[in-house]
Subunit: 411 residues, 2 copies
């Protein structure tokens, strides 16, 4: 049968959107440009040099000297699963502090990997104190502590300051999911004693979703190595299988992925060249701007957004002293249909903002200020458009107060 | 410490290569252009429409009416693992016919997923007869038959004609890995009775690596559904957990991925927008050319490459009546350093050809003629460059015979 091309694809150009939700957001045009480069071979010396450069640059971004710092070919969630399936042995006890959707996700993934999952919970919109986590660690005696650094579902940033010391004292492996936070909030993998961090490109790093930077400490890498198993077909006599039970995934076996990224250059998957180009350029832009300057840019623009929303008379959600720099949640005002507002913003202004999940679904909007979009023009445009839409649906706000409050933050 | 930009990245443009290895190959420029488009939101109506279009177009390419036809966010190997971890329950007996590296990979992945793996083997460079497979099915009584349609390590194409009927008679689920074959060799998922097919963009489909088209029959999707488990955080009262043991992966749970791609639109991972754009444009180009015309183009160019190599006096590897259209393996002539030839082709002509794995490592070159590079100019350029390099290293060939033999195929 003859195939009829769908009309909307014939145009082939996506509509112009200003993405001010919790991510993905608009990608820096330089990153898009890099992603459009032509392929080179998997073991071309230029390719392996690019892979080395990616490792080097992401070490700077994670603030680590970990040899095992690489990209997993998949979205941020693939990086989380790679760490957990490689790092957690079936039957291992893990502790997950849960105060948002992404804590629940860590439980979910760890459970599927056969872990014995223990949780400590706090209200959505708050974070944990180090004491709460230490008490739970004492009680549960986990092999790993799995934390979420920035949980976009609640906008909260979990302080990691004292957790590394707690883990070190009790010989617990320490992981954090920094998907939403990395590049827009301080994170120092080595100084915090982290054994694993995973991230994604599509939040503060200003890239597209589809590549997951991951770093593993030498200690965790050694543990992973004890479960390593080089696949038949490329295995040679010098490859000795690890003594412990194999990792229950081939695609996410960080030992094999490291053999591909490391000097051994053992073929594993076919590296996603397009996403590697994007990840390289995103990292280059972060380091060119400077990590501290970038975090400051997220802080000031996030503060301006929060100030503008407050000045509009909207109530911010969650403990504002623990908020990530890059995303603000506000309660949807009584009498307003949150989805109608979102749809009008999208249809009439081309602006996307988000809602949330679980207990917050339909209760809050989440407004992101991150990556390429952590800019004054994005903040001001979003504020005045939201003000106009609220006004249209009968919710009055003090005229001009929102942009003025934002302007005041940039003085 | 101040970060010094690596010099080679400062240039930021990868070198111009003609990729005539077993893939990835050069990507159609229209696909690169599509990949460079700006982001839109995950649940933007345009985004969900694009996802529907992708499902529709890949159904045409797989020749299936399977509802569950979608993209897994990862490389071709991620599609294989998604099918196996979702389709194979721990303890399930699977049968894998192995006559190349990618058969071994299926064993590897199935083993890690807890399957009881049985194999039937044949020499690399051959394929199985239907009788051989039926005998093994009778003996092993597997729940699934896992096959490789085109194994790039040997260039062989496994005929699937009678396997579906064998599987149907014995109630065996039937999967094939079509990464290397799809779009360049005939494959009809429904007509062959296939319950699952996975692929990648980077071979005959002419796209970049990093997205894995997958299709599942209704029968297999139902089986996957019995193991489904919607994650906490997005689960509501209406989501009933499947009765059977959960799938041991969250990222690769095709039930959840289908809930994201299907009308339910339940959030799972953050779709890789860039790779979706690439996958859409790659599919559009396939359908615009016509699947049959595209297969014919691969056939004629592959034949021209093989004829040219033969005319050069090189011995082709494997059963040529069973060769994939899109890749040709030749024995490296005695007295020639295969790696030196490959390096010279790359350094002095910008042309990449491949070697192989396992028993064929260093014994054969593999030369791909696929996707955007299944073209007369690519074939002729590669032949004359290889001829020149062989001549330079003292291996004499009949002057002009190789391109002439190729030209003769295009008459």
């Amino acid at each position: 049968m003859p195939y009829k091309l769908p009309v909307s694809l014939a145009a082939r150009t996506p509509p112009c959107r200003l993405l001010m939700g919790p991510g993905p957001v608009n990608v820096d045009p330089a990153v898009l440009h890099a992603a459009a480069n032509q392929m080179i071979g998997q073991f071309d010396p230029v390719m392996t040099d690019y892979m080395n450069q990616a490792m080097d640059m992401y070490r700077q971004i994670f603030k680590t000297s970990n040899r095992c710092t690489l990209l997993v070919d998949g979205t941020a969630r693939s990086g989380i699963e790679a760490v957990i399936v490689s790092g957690v042995r079936p039957g291992d006890r893990v502790l997950v502090p849960v105060c948002g959707r992404f804590g629940l996700l860590l439980c979910e993934i760890a459970g599927r990997c056969g872990a014995e999952v223990h949780t400590v919970t706090a209200e959505w919109g708050t974070v944990f104190t180090a004491d709460q986590i230490e008490d739970a660690v004492k009680k549960v005696k986990p092999r790993l502590l799995l934390t979420v650094h920035g949980d976009t579902s609640t906008t909260m940033l979990q302080p990691l300051e004292d957790l590394g010391a707690i883990c070190a004292r009790r010989n617990v492996l320490f992981y954090t999911d920094a998907t939403a936070s990395l590049g827009g909030n301080p994170l120092e993998a080595d100084a915090r004693g982290l054994d694993a961090v995973s991230a994604g490109l599509q939040k503060c790093l200003g890239g597209p979703p589809g590549s997951a930077p991951v770093t593993l400490s030498e200690k965790l890498l050694q543990a992973v190595g004890r479960r390593k198993h080089v696949e038949a077909g490329i295995r040679t006599d010098k490859h000795v299988a690890g003594a412990e039970e194999h990792i229950h995934s081939n695609y996410f076996d960080l030992g094999m992925i490291m053999d591909y990224w490391g000097p051994e250059r053992l073929n594993h998957h076919t590296e996603s060249t397009t996403m590697l180009y994007a990840a390289l350029e995103a990292a280059r832009l972060v380091l060119e701007e400077g990590l501290d300057a970038r975090i400051h840019r997220h802080e000031i623009n996030g503060r301006a957004m929060a100030a503008g929303l407050s000045a509009m008379g909207l109530a911010l959600f969650g403990d504002q002293t623990r908020r990530m720099n890059n995303v603000v949640a506000v309660h949807i005002p009584a009498g307003i249909d949150g989805e109608q507002v979102r749809r009008t913003l999208l249809d009439d202004f081309g602006i996307e903002i988000g809602t949330s999940f679980g207990p917050l679904r339909g209760k809050v909007w989440r407004i992101g200020v991150m990556g390429y979009n952590a800019r004054k023009d994005c903040v001001l445009t979003t504020l005045v458009a939201l003000e106009a839409v609220l006004h249209r649906f009968g919710h009055r706000t003090p005229q001009g107060a929102a942009p003025q409050a934002a302007w005041d933050c940039y003085v």
